[in-house]
């Protein structure tokens, strides 16, 4: 049977990128425990609107845990206390009457706040733009089964490819590092033969872009892995490091000079 609870929210409010921002306390009354976390915020927002106050802005879209839009730090943990779960799939039954909940946006220099809990994650898009693709024009593809891929490689590539680009890894990292995000795409494509031809160039460009965006470095805290809604493993970060070290130490200049000689 449904439980009803009253909560106190401490929510980060910031009108726009230039605003200083501050925490504001709100009462969330008569919250049904079957609500999702975002539905709880919907209820608070309707209440605010009735009082003539501006609703709390937060990114959200599919509410099924796959689009990667939503994301907020709930009581110190990106996406909240449930493992492998995005904020939209977090349900209020994990909270109890009287709880005080602090809600903050992702905090990172590379993710400037747009408004309230909404941040600008375009830095992640630019990392993909730097090389996170296979350059195949529409129509240029060979017959799909002409290139068998060992199932284990394919499965491992898949594990990396499940990244939804929500940015929780950055938000959780003590260094605000985007290593897990970047590594996931690099690994996804490096594990597949299709990604082979551009492999060395890709890792160099993507890591360079990751650094240029102002993300921190990886200190192997594993916080990213712990909050990742898709359980992406930090062993992909090791893979990215290996890829880059190989790319920049043996390829491609070395290969060039060898072929000349």
């Amino acid at each position: 049977m449904a439980r009803s609870m009253n909560l106190v929210l401490n929510v980060w409010r910031q009108k726009n990128a230039k605003d200083q921002g501050r925490f504001v306390r709100y009462d969330a009354k008569a919250i049904n425990d079957h609500m999702s976390f975002l539905e709880m915020l919907d209820v608070v927002n309707e209440d605010l609107a009735h009082k003539g106050e501006e609703p709390i802005a937060f990114d959200h879209d599919c509410r099924e845990g796959i689009c990667g839009s939503c994301g907020m730090v709930i009581n110190g943990v990106p996406h909240g206390p449930a493992k492998s779960t995005t904020a939209c799939q977090l349900h209020m039954r994990l909270f109890k009457d009287g709880d005080e909940i602090t809600i903050e946006p992702w905090r990172a220099g590379a993710f400037p706040v747009v408004r309230d809990l909404v941040v600008d994650r375009s830095a992640l898009d630019r990392i993909i733009q730097a090389g996170g693709y296979v350059s195949v024009r529409a129509g240029a593809a060979p017959e799909a089964n002409s290139l068998p891929v060992p199932k284990l490689d394919s499965d491992q590539a898949f594990d990396a490819a499940t990244c939804i680009g929500c940015g929780a890894c950055v938000a959780s990292c003590p260094n605000a590092s985007a290593a897990l995000f970047t590594a996931a795409k690099i690994s996804h494509l490096a594990l597949l033969p299709q990604g082979g031809p551009e492999r060395t160039d890709r890792v160099r460009k993507m890591v360079a872009q990751m650094d240029a965006e102002g993300f921190g470095h990886c200190s192997s805290h594993k916080e990213c892995e712990a909050v990742c809604p898709k359980d992406i493993s930090i062993s992909f970060i090791a893979k990215m490091n290996r890829e880059l070290i190989t790319a920049m130490s043996v390829a491609p200049n070395e290969i060039k000079s060898r072929s000349k000689g």
Binding site: R63, E64, I66
Partner: protein, 642 residues
């Protein structure tokens, strides 16, 4: 206006080839002079924008999300069909074509459907080359499964995330073009109107969702891939932001809206748990392979713990009514029977607005028969998802399910070239009406989006551009400025109502009305009631709407209000179309038109046409234009599942 489908004639196998050969081409050196606008970045829009970029056009792509990677195509779970016949089980392009026409209940254009089936094979090649990690067998070759009752295994899949993986493939190609500066991406930007100059689409008016700035973007061609309108029902499996504004505003500028009443219901979604519910979550239909659907026989048992209800007091109504198909009857039948049970007061689960909307989907027998491990192997991820949302463990307590709106087959009318009735306005993906007829087969939405984006639009838009001089209209053109002015006035109007009700509450009320009277089963009286009620609600909207804040900033209430305003108008048209179509076909079920067994009954003599509605003016009745459908290859037949 006489609707010309421009569908080629001749042998169906050669039509697309012919059409491609006859298409005019743009000299590669001249392409960058042509500006192409793509609205939407999902499978259709993302693929189209990337491909136009690859061809060398000057592309601008718009999406309301913060990144093109988040378009709602991402949420598709099941898979994508393709006539590869890798399983050697008798599949072919022709069979996929045949199944799709039949599945669409003979309300789709044969030429389009054949092209779709033909291109399906290229899509798989393309996606695999991009690095989409489709399921593979131990041989390293691609795996397939049979989906949605198909007799052949032609569905390619990527765990339960096929949509995501395909979209990321398109997004990556798009990202490359953004890097190469052939595509300029405009995220967090919403199209609010279409610019039409002398009857030709010449651009769009947008609002920057962060700053509130309204601006005009002119172009030589506009391509809408802005998705479906399922959110007119408020509760649906669509993403919260999905809306009809781009298509509806284009409709008001002269693009005909086709078959809006063809909406698809998915039978297995997690039921609503309360009146705060913001969306519904779909659970894979595969659950019906092993789960048994039932409701309590006695009304007294409704609130009883289902475990304590003895076998004799359970009504396995699908098995009772359809002994041969049982729980595996098609989507629409399963959906309607569930609704019937709940309308009879036999629904289970929480009461929302006075009705319990849910039926049990019980795995008790499956666990007994196969063992818990075997059930877990098949469904554990789904069970976990269900438990996360409902807090109930399906191994212990029967799941509860209820149908929900899932996809809309209707959309802007397009010809074979995917051009609307406005010259220079092309429409792809779910936003158009073209390929699915009255009902869409499982795993065919992704196929259509990508076929349009990668392969059809690049040819047909190029053909159009070849006949156009680039850069005819700029932002100072009076028609452009007038359209911008109209958009600003509309925003101003919404902002200045200063009433008491939030946009959300209006949207919710409209959705409930639509679901009750224009949902799974429709009647003349119900539709007429809705048609009387919607204008009343709309009038209240324009008299009592409240939006906090201003239009010159990030304003989620204003966004919502604009989308809701357009949903009102679309809702009316949908009801009118449903009322007008005096037959049952695919996703459209009129209670007056059913067989003795309660099956949908088509009326091919009177309704074998596409209903293309023309906007005639504010508060004027829309005009119905008909595109007759003829079937040269697949001849209409009535289905039976008894």
């Amino acid at each position: 206006m006489q609707l010309d489908s421009r569908a080629p004639t001749g042998p169906i196998e050669q039509r697309w080839n012919e059409a491609r050969f006859k298409s005019k081409l743009v000299n590669p050196a001249n392409r960058r002079k042509y500006k192409v606008i793509v609205v939407g970045s999902g499978l259709a829009g993302g693929a189209a924008a990337a491909t136009f970029g690859e061809l060398g056009y000057n592309v601008s792509c718009f999406c309301y999300q913060d990144s093109p990677r988040r378009a709602h195509s991402i949420a598709a779970q099941g898979g994508i069909n393709a006539a590869k016949n890798y399983q050697n089980d008798g599949d072919s392009v022709y069979r996929l074509f045949y199944d799709t026409v039949k599945g669409g209940d003979f309300r789709a254009r044969e030429s389009n459907v054949y092209r779709l089936a033909e291109l399906s094979v290229n899509i798989i090649d393309q996606c695999v080359a991009q690095g989409v990690p489709f399921a593979r067998e131990y041989s390293g070759l691609l795996g397939n499964r049979s989906f949605g009752g198909a007799q052949v295994a032609r569905t390619f899949y990527a765990r339960g995330q096929t949509g995501q993986q395909l979209l990321l493939g398109a997004y990556q190609s798009l990202s490359k073009q953004i890097e190469q500066r052939t595509v300029k991406m405009h995220p967090r930007t919403e199209m609010l109107d279409l610019i039409v100059v002398d009857g030709v689409a010449r651009g769009i008016v947008t609002r920057d969702l962060v700053t509130g700035k309204v601006s005009a973007h002119t172009a030589d061609v506009v391509v809408l891939c802005s998705g479906g309108y399922g959110n007119v029902f408020y509760l649906s499996t669509n993403a919260k932001g999905c809306n009809t504004t781009a298509t509806w505003r284009s409709h008001r500028r002269g693009a005909y809206f086709a078959n809006p009443c063809f909406t698809q219901i998915h039978p297995t979604c997690i039921p609503q748990s309360g009146d705060y519910q913001s969306k519904l979550t779909l659970m894979s239909e595969s659950l019906r392979n092993d789960g048994r659907v039932w409701v309590p026989k006695n009304l007294a048992d409704l609130q009883r713990d289902p475990k304590n209800i003895p076998e004799a007091d359970r009504d396995y109504y699908l098995e009772r009514q359809y002994p041969s198909f049982g729980n595996l009857v098609p989507r629409d039948i399963a959906s309607r029977r569930a609704k019937e049970m709940c309308d009879l007061g036999k629904g289970v689960g929480p009461e929302v607005a006075g009705v319990r909307r849910g039926v049990y989907l019980d795995f008790g027998d499956a666990v007994k028969r196969l063992g818990r491990d075997a059930v877990a192997e098949r469904y554990d991820n789904l069970f976990q998802m269900y438990e996360r949302i409902t807090g109930e463990n399906p191994y212990e307590v029967p799941m509860r399910m209820y149908p929900a709106i899932h996809y809309t087959m209707g959309g802007l009318w397009v010809d074979y070239n995917l051009m609307s009735t406005i010259t220079g306005l092309f429409v792809g993906g779910e936003a158009n009406f073209s390929d699915h007829g009255a009902n869409r087969l499982g795993a065919s939405a992704l196929m259509q989006g990508l076929a349009d984006g990668y392969f059809v639009l690049p040819v047909t838009v190029s053909n159009y551009l070849a006949g156009v001089k680039p850069g005819g209209v700029d932002e100072s053109h009076p028609d452009v400025r007038r359209t911008v002015g109209e958009v600003e006035a509309r925003i101003q109007r919404l902002m200045s109502i200063r009433g008491k009700r939030t946009p959300e509450s209006f949207h919710r009320e409209l959705g409930t009305l639509m679901w009750d009277y224009c949902g799974m089963a429709r009647t003349e009286a119900g539709l007429k009631f809705a048609l009387a009620k919607i204008p009343e609600l709309k009038a209240e909207f324009y008299g009592n709407l409240s939006i906090v804040g201003s239009g010159e900033e990030y304003n989620i209430m204003l966004e919502k209000a604009g989308r809701t305003a357009d949903f009102f108008e679309l809702a009316e048209l949908t009801c009118r179309d449903a009322l007008d179509r005096e037959e049952s076909a695919g996703g459209h079920f009129r209670e007056e038109h059913q067989t003795e067994e309660g099956e949908a009954q088509r009326n091919d003599d009177a309704f074998s046409y596409v209903a293309a509605w023309e906007f005639t003016g504010e508060s004027l009745a829309p005009k119905l234009n008909k595109e007759p459908l003829s079937f040269e290859y697949v001849h209409p037949s009535q289905r039976s599942y008894k």
